[in-house]
Symmetry: C3
Subunit: 395 residues, 3 copies
């Protein structure tokens, strides 16, 4: 059965664990995978430029022995001639064996996946999902500690808008016994409903004002960039950007086993003097992204390579937005890991009734439905009320 | 002997038939061709973006086991430093085994082919030729009916400017017994000389005002997009664009064996509700384009793989513009097909005297000779008088 | 030990000779190298477009059996998010086995090389260095004469700004017995210190006003383009551009064995009627560039494939700017060649004291240190005083 990966939540806990285990094997012996995708073609479709992510996907395919065809900047594509995203996806998926797609609009990956004739991996759809970044993060943690559970993780920076952090927290909530230390300026705090969902999933969240204090007790310090484009006022941006800077003096508070992560690119939230610290892992983290993309491509190209617990994309995606562990799913944990109390389930807001295609107008100005006339809006019911079926925004 | 394909007319009827037969075999068993171009390199040179066509060529090469190097947007190329297209073609053809080239100027493919040291395929030169689109169309028809002759084909939309339609009609005129139903707004009718040339080639052309009527009696319904860039007046564009829309209600008039084609991208001339109609073939048509590009690349890389009836590019191209069957060429038809009365000949306007390099100024503002100082204009005599040797415009 | 090639001077005379010999073998039998880089990946990072150079590198890798991932226009990269070049280089070098990098800023290649985890080849850093062009030039000469020594080479055009000419002259100064004929408008004469350095290296330089005279006595006529972007005044540009034009009438003065070279693209400094002259070598020269890039990639991917006489990039690059032969290095000459009196040494301005990282501001407005906050300026002492450690400009 054909699978797409729009979000980490599209993977069962067993699949997620198996992917991490595969990532470990690939990292240990990359050459052993050199022929896994021989004769297969990846279409790398980037409707907005993201060089780093694109190269990582393309080289992942190359290291599996496959071939890549690449669209580095889709602004130049048929979209300018009035073609729908579904038509584009349908045609190009007719040429390739697997598609990696990046798009500036929230929900675009699902629109394309529904039309695609081959597996599609979301390489980032607006500010919505970017699952392979989270897979890179999980492998980095797992390579260090042999597990993704029972850890204290400090997340630092923009906890309000940061897609990367939200996705990582959702993933960590599927593993048991993790504790989160939230370090951010007041304006960029973790949303209350996220804290609530994490708590419900058994993850303790503590707000910590001092970076030194967080660093002193964390196993993982996860730094993030404050994005300029979030702020109208450049003065406010400058102030918030420099609120928390990790440098050698702060690292003096960290324990020996603590690691520093960052999804990159960084601006100045990690000083260059930390680069030579043996606890820095952010460059390895980027390399781990390549290994996990190899694992994911390999998984999607092989039907039956892993137990397929979920069903088509429409069904799954209709389950909701960012998801925290409260479900009842079961799975085989990776070595050393234990699932959350709810067995490592992906927990999107519950679907209270079947999705209905309704003629709603999505209030999210960056939603794909407001940009692509082929994306027929639909809504679904979550615990917090109806949401857009593509971008998961509350209606 | 080295060959280039600037237009479908550069292929003899025997070659065209053999390519279609090869396309059928590739479509049936693509994996069997996975090593045909091993060790060969395609230079994919796009002087204007055309993602779909580019990816189709590149993946065609990949599926033959060859390698691709790609220039996705040649606006950034040496042309900006004042280099002639001939110099660019000569250098890059020194790196590659075969070249696919797209260029915004009419006649540019011939300029490059004359300088190229390896076979060159025209992937579209302005509004002039785009032969692989027509090859895709022919394979789609042949896969459906087992032949490209004895069919009733309705062409709908912009029959005045539409390069795709003109090229398809010229190709169909080389097969016997085809009838054309022309459906268009009055402003976008098939040019009279085209109708005359088709008639002379034994193809009956009937103008039909009602789309329903055309659909009811056609074997093939070939829809086309009305291009916004043809019209200064947006109101006129909107009106003409919506003149003929194929939807489920129109399809109710079609017979069971009738197929719907479209070169894509579409805007709204085919409603989305036709996509699920079992008679829709436009997405398969795109895939067939990949198969025919595989067949063509394979043909050009193998000297002697097919009988080479024609001689150098200059000689052939000097024969003229869009060509309709009236010649005397002979060939081996593909199974099920019969050539036109004139034996499936390519019939460009007759060359009354040898081409002469004269210092004419081509009246076509999009002619390559008005843009590239290295393209020395020449003229040739056709039945309708002298024409530009590059863009075939009447002088 | 990992090596980078920022400049030809980074290669010992023995290595340079061995690379030329490898280029000869590749040119003779390219197919024999089809598996040398199997399983390896080249990251082709172009922070400014240069289609010709990029395609040449990429196809060189393809012809060695390797895979390429490509960034055709880095303007779209993470740099726009405030990332330093060092971070970008570090991440992407974590994906690839070798990097080819083009960048608009002087000294950018060294910044990236210092951070790179794999060998890096400079594919042009601003107006600074472009070593593979010079390697192409040397192979072209060597294929013709069986040596790069004992030749009379006329260099024509912009001898003041022309990076290509300066790099070629520096390389020729490492071979014995060469004589240079300098042909240029007064405004674009070879700088005096270059003439002095060449003389000191045993290379005789003669200024010749008449192109005919130079052509009559040269073994190699090396034409260059006068670049429009060097001149504020278009009238001056037009005049200087047309000061020396090589056409068939000038070629009538040349001897039979004389060859014509040009780094391309040309504008009109070589008339098209020279293209068919059997002494024209500029298109072969471009092809030789591909062969030398193959040789260089192969060399860098194979540790110990050649004797590694030099040490880390920092050490070497700190030695200085454009270099002329006066050193004491020894090496095994390629067949037919003899090193300069000083044994073919690379002679950058001597380093009088160890490089010091000082907080200087480089006066060169195109220096990478003025653009990238991660490039910490450092200076070194040359015979002419302190220079910028990245762009070699005198402070």
């Amino acid at each position: 059965m054909m699978r797409h990966v729009i979000d980490v939540a599209d993977l069962t806990f067993a699949e997620l664990s198996a992917l991490i285990a595969a990532g470990e094997r690939i990292a240990a012996e990359p050459g052993a995978w050199a022929d896994r995708a021989r004769g297969k073609v990846l279409a790398s479709l980037f409707f907005e430029p993201s060089t780093r992510t694109r190269l990582s996907f393309e080289i992942a395919m190359a290291r599996l022995g496959g071939t890549v065809i690449s669209m580095a900047d889709g602004a130049a594509s048929s979209a300018s001639k009035g073609e729908t995203l579904a038509d584009t996806a349908r045609v190009i998926s007719g040429y390739a064996d697997i598609v990696a797609m990046r798009h500036p609009k929230d929900g675009a990956a699902l629109v394309a996946a529904e039309a695609s004739r081959v597996p599609l991996v979301n390489a980032g759809d607006g500010g919505h999902f970017h699952p392979t970044q989270t897979l890179a993060d999980l492998l980095t943690i797992h390579r260090e500690f042999g597990r993704c559970s029972g850890l204290t993780v400090a997340v630092v920076g923009d906890l309000l808008y940061g897609r990367t952090v939200h996705s990582l927290l959702a993933a960590l909530s599927r593993f048991s016994g993790n504790e989160i230390l939230a370090v951010s300026p007041a304006e960029l705090r973790l949303p209350e409903q996220t804290v609530a969902a994490l708590s419900q999933a058994g993850v303790r969240v503590r707000e910590v004002k001092s970076l030194e204090e967080a660093v002193a007790s964390a196993d993982v310090v996860y730094m993030t960039r404050v994005q300029r484009e979030r702020f109208g006022d450049p003065v406010q941006y400058e102030r918030l950007r420099d609120a928390y800077v990790l440098d050698a003096s702060v690292m003096a508070h960290a324990r020996e086993h603590t690691i520093v992560m960052h999804p990159l690119p960084r601006v100045n939230e990690i000083a260059v003097d930390v680069d030579s610290d043996p606890r820095a892992r952010y460059f390895e983290q980027a390399e781990n992204g390549m290994f996990m993309r190899m694992a994911l491509i390999d998984f999607l190209l092989r039907e039956g390579g892993l137990r397929l617990a979920l069903h088509g994309p429409r069904r799954k995606r209709a389950e909701g937005g960012t998801s925290f562990a409260v479900g009842t799913e079961s799975g085989t944990p990776a070595s050393g890991d234990t699932g959350a109390p709810a067995s490592g389930a992906s927990v999107r807001p519950e679907r209270l009734r079947p999705p209905a295609r309704v003629n709603h107008e999505c209030p999210n100005p960056r939603c794909v439905t407001r940009w692509d006339r082929g994306a027929v809006a639909f809504a679904y019911e979550s615990a917090e009320g109806p949401r857009c079926g593509f971008c998961d925004t509350r209606l």
